[in-house]
Subunit: 257 residues, 2 copies
């Protein structure tokens, strides 16, 4: 088979699943720490605060993808993602459910919504995801959502692990995750079928794999930033710090001058 002969749908799907098995953020040390009860209260606070930015930008990302889809049927399908996150009425939707988690961890909604205290590395990664969906082909934009193929299992591990290990979370405060698996499964199956049907050439198939690799890096980079700032306690200047933590660098100017 020549290098640019298209892969079979089965082989492309296998490549995508292997990409997840090698790059999805369930392999990251922060996730293992979070699920196994190794995180401090402050580390869970930092994770929830920073991941709020990702959650809050998902409907913006999905609206961006909506602008790229030419078919009414495809847009009807994709619109469900925005409804899931923004909800259909006051107090409903995934973003609102994420705010219930940050409420329970002692953050004011104004502070969380301001995103003032989040890690620049997390913000840059999320913004790169939105920009990817704006600038790349619709096929790549859809393919970048395929990390959801791998999320239902991980969500199950996360919820059971967190409930078992942390007395400061509950089924109510983790309500976000109880809703996600069926939505993620529906969305991922649709996106996978879309990619298998629309990646005709080997070059398009490689772009689909690259888009999934990119999205895995978006998720991984957010956890790297959390680990550096809150596990190693090397937070960059200007971000949220737990009460009592020293500002890492504001006093250091003299040292390095």
């Amino acid at each position: 088979m020549s290098d640019d002969a298209p892969l079979s749908a089965a082989y492309l799907e296998a490549r995508l699943r292997r990409t997840g098995a090698e790059r999805y953020h369930n392999l990251h040390r922060f996730h293992r720490r979070l699920h196994s009860g190794g995180c401090s209260y402050e580390e869970v606070q930092a994770w929830a605060l920073n991941r709020y930015y990702y959650q809050s930008m998902i409907p913006i990302k999905d609206a961006t993808v909506l602008t790229r889809l030419a078919s009414i049927e495809d847009r009807r399908e994709w619109r469900k993602r925005i409804e899931d996150h923004d909800g259909t009425k006051e107090g409903d939707g995934g973003v609102e459910r994420w705010l219930k988690l940050t409420d329970s961890l002692g953050f004011s909604r104004d502070y969380v919504r301001s995103t003032e205290g989040i890690l620049p590395g997390a913000r840059f990664a999320v913004d790169a995801y939105v920009e990817f969906c704006r600038a790349r082909t619709p096929l790549e934009a859809v393919a970048s959502s395929l990390t959801e193929l791998f999320s239902p299992t991980v969500i199950g591990e996360r919820v059971s692990g967190m409930l078992a290990h942390y007395d400061f979370v509950s089924r109510e405060t983790l309500a976000y995750f109880s809703q996600r698996p069926p939505q993620a499964k529906r969305d991922a199956e649709w996106a996978l079928a879309f990619c298998l049907a629309n990646a005709h050439t080997r070059a398009q198939q490689e772009l689909v794999v690259k888009a999934l690799e990119f999205k895995c890096a978006v998720l991984w980079t957010q956890l790297d930033a959390l680990w550096t700032a809150y596990v190693e306690r090397e937070a960059p200047p200007g971000v949220w710090l737990p009460a009592g933590w020293p500002q890492a660098h504001s006093g250091a100017a003299g040292v390095a001058a």
Copy 2:
């Protein structure tokens, strides 16, 4: 003085200089390690390889700013930055000088230019900088270049420190830095004068400070990514690894499944 009364030019300049003293990446532990001889050869390789992406995007960033400047005189001034980086003839310019450094560290130019092996966290930070200059006001785009107010001193420390501690670098391979201080000084003085002259309201002055904070975070985030991947040896999947380093995660799928 009311909270929204404009600051004096002298006070705004002092705020900008304090921002640099508190947030510029000379305060980052990777820079201290690099200058003091604490980096391994592989860490210096990783720094040069990843920073190539930043260097290579600076003329793109500056061309983006050029699209935002309404005045011919301002564009003439700003154009010098693109000339400095892209040069005026074959083999000239800052990007070319950076490639002399990566040459000397054993990378092929094709590999470096491909940017295939760079850290996603470094790429996202650099891309955020270009996007900032495209999307924000011209005042903020110019203000985001003000980190150059702080670079000449640091470049002096870096070159003397690296020459003193590493036998694998030389004045020739560090030629990039020998050219930069007078260019950076000229550019930073012009940009500072532009910001002081064009930030009329307190709100505009706050945007200027925020733009410098943003740019400090762009630089800081690149060094956080280097530290995690190459000092802690927790490289994300798919990036360049020194010969003999194990792929951190490709074998780990089973562990976290």
